[in-house]
Amino acid sequence: MPGMSSAIRHEGVVEPAGAAATSRGAPEPTLSGWGRQTVRGREILGENLEALTKGAVLSRGLGRSYGDSSLPAQASDKVVATRLANRILAFDSGTGVLRAEAGLSLADMNQLFIPRGWFTPVTPGTKFVTLGGMVASDVHGKNHHREGCFGAHVRALRMRLADDSIVECSPTKDEDLFYGTIGGMGLLGHILEVECVLHRIPSPWILQESERVRDIDEYVTALNTAAPTWPMTVGWIDCLSQGSALGRGILMAGRWAEPDEAPKLPPREPRPITVPFDFPNWAVNPLTVSVFNGLLYWKHMDQFGRGIVSPDTFFYPLDMLLHWYRGYGSRGFTQYQCVIPRAAGAPAVREFMQLLTKLGGASPLCVIKDCGPQGKGLLSFPMEGTSIAVDMAVSPDIQRIVDSLNEFVIATGGRIYLTKDRFTRAEHFRAMEPRLPAFEAVRAKWDPKRRLRSAQSVRILGDRAA
């Protein structure tokens, strides 16, 4: 069944194929975030974002945000899926300026541009995201201390606003709209096109150094020491370790390899494995996690390691496991990611880890990163300090755990990452986000009725649900 033709004039005659499904009594369509939170609703899929976003209240890309950022507030809300709008509109091979439709995926971009010696200035930990999503989340990466967030490299956005008009904004034109959209979770308008700058890379390979780290204090010091010399750093933490080994793990630092260091041939295209079905809900438990973490820690036999790896290995290790959320079973999972400001000091990071261990947030995945200064996005997540991200299975205790962690983070002056969040309370978010009134003022200007919204904006910003 090929798609509706691009070679026939058919405006207004073809009824949506969906009608047949409902008349046959098919199950209600649903949408999910990456953590398996599922709500009733359907996405409208198509190539022409300009046409599709008319009257829509939310756009979503590849649905990789963990919580409810990309989910509709109610089933009848019009949600646009942008992933088929993936055309590159212009690329200047002199300056690296790229303009593309918002649904272009980073996976696509990497495949096209790494062989030509270009790479996105900032990449998140998965390549299965769209350009629009990277802007809406103002994604950060292992190089935040050097390059800031993705938004710092965006030059212009073409947007469909709440009043259905279409505008182009930039750091010099309607800058309040522009900076409100960078990290604004899609709440100020639908992103139709993105213009950003790619960076030159000397080779398609990464030179990586890794080091076993004995505890959390050593970690914070090691991250700070590595920051000036390495453009990219990240650490994995065994968050079940306790006592003197609390926060032991492996620190990785990397940079693009120079041509004389890199292998002659480009990296081979990775062949990911699909997690074929839901694991039982008990599969991820403290025992299995501690065995997994122990293996991962001691697999790093030597204190230090150094080698050439592919960008996929370095940036996107989890992309090798398609549908890895299935490992957590049908209960789903959430990720808690916060930043603890440098001003709160290294002891605050240790205290956070102690609290996490005490609350029983058993996780095979706990990632620690160094953040540089806060960017210009009005709700952009990172701030100078230490970012910690930890996966947690959804359990009856989860709300209590997230509340306790949030109260700790508020006390340190830190904040959480909306793209990962599913359980933070409105009052907690307001307490940790002094920039919220400024964002709300911009929103009041561009969307006074708050027509654009998501399940998350209802939960956290108090938008009306229906």
Partner: protein, 246 residues
């Protein structure tokens, strides 16, 4: 490969066009509207490793009088094409078609009559230069007379038989005909339907189509699992087909 693609601005056609240019093949787009062709042509140009290409011409499948000129434009731009790919077609639900006979006339004209006319123009040009590849999208809907796709499916069935005959008749002369039968693929056309277990993505279809073209296969079910599904459906007896709803 120097390929002309009719329908290459959207859905599976776009994915095929992108895949071809990314590996260095030349692509010329045919279709409407022009605003869409301009954007897709820019995309293909940016994706081409050498930044080449980006040609297009207007072609409306409802206006067969323009077919020859559009193919001539493609031929001139590509310096003689050696592959023609047709993904364009029209879809409408069975309910909509039953309610509107004029819509039915348009759909069967576009999907069968005019597509065959276009293929005849293309086929003659290819044979005149000693052969080439002709890849045309039929559908699994054309494998069996089924209630929800009675009219659409019949237009695709007719097309499939035509393509089979072309293969029989001109294979020896160097024409490599590929009839593509996609199953459920997540595109704008199927948006809103609950995807069945073997639903495919346009990229996956594009990968299958390009490798089937390279291998010179005559028929392709994609995603592959649909070959098995349709094998079962083709063998279902009439009394079962009368009872069931698909």
């Amino acid at each position: 490969m120097k390929a002309v693609i009719l329908g290459g601005t959207s859905g599976m056609g776009r994915a095929i066009a992108q895949r071809l240019v990314e590996r260095g093949d030349s692509v010329f787009l045919l279709g409407i509207p022009e605003s869409d062709l301009v954007r897709s042509a820019a995309d293909l140009k940016a994706r081409n490793p050498k930044g080449e290409g980006g040609g297009y011409a207007l072609l409306d499948l409802e206006r067969p009088e323009g077919f020859a000129a559009a193919l001539d434009a493609a031929d001139a731009a590509l310096g003689g094409f050696d592959a023609v790919i047709v993904t364009a077609a029209m879809f409408a639900s069975q309910d909509a078609l039953e309610a509107d006979v004029e819509l039915t006339r348009r759909l069967v004209t576009i999907n069968y009559a005019n597509t065959v006319v276009f293929c005849e123009h293309a086929r003659k040009r290819l044979l005149a230069r000693g052969g080439g590849k002709l890849t045309v999208f039929s559908s699994v809907a054309g494998d069996r007379g089924r209630k929800p796709v009675a009219i659409y499916g019949s237009s695709k069935a007719g097309l499939a038989i035509y393509l089979e005959a072309l293969d029989h008749k001109f294979h020896a002369a160097g024409l490599s005909v590929l009839c593509v039968k996609p199953g459920f693929v997540k595109t704008a056309m199927t948006a809103g339907l609950k995807p069945p277990p073997f639903a495919g993505e346009p990229d996956q279809v594009a990968r299958d189509v390009v490798s089937a073209m390279d291998a010179g296969k005559p028929v392709l079910y994609t995603p592959r699992m649909w070959a098995l599904v349709m094998l079962v459906i083709r063998w279902l007896p009439r009394f079962v087909m009368r009872k069931i709803g698909f």
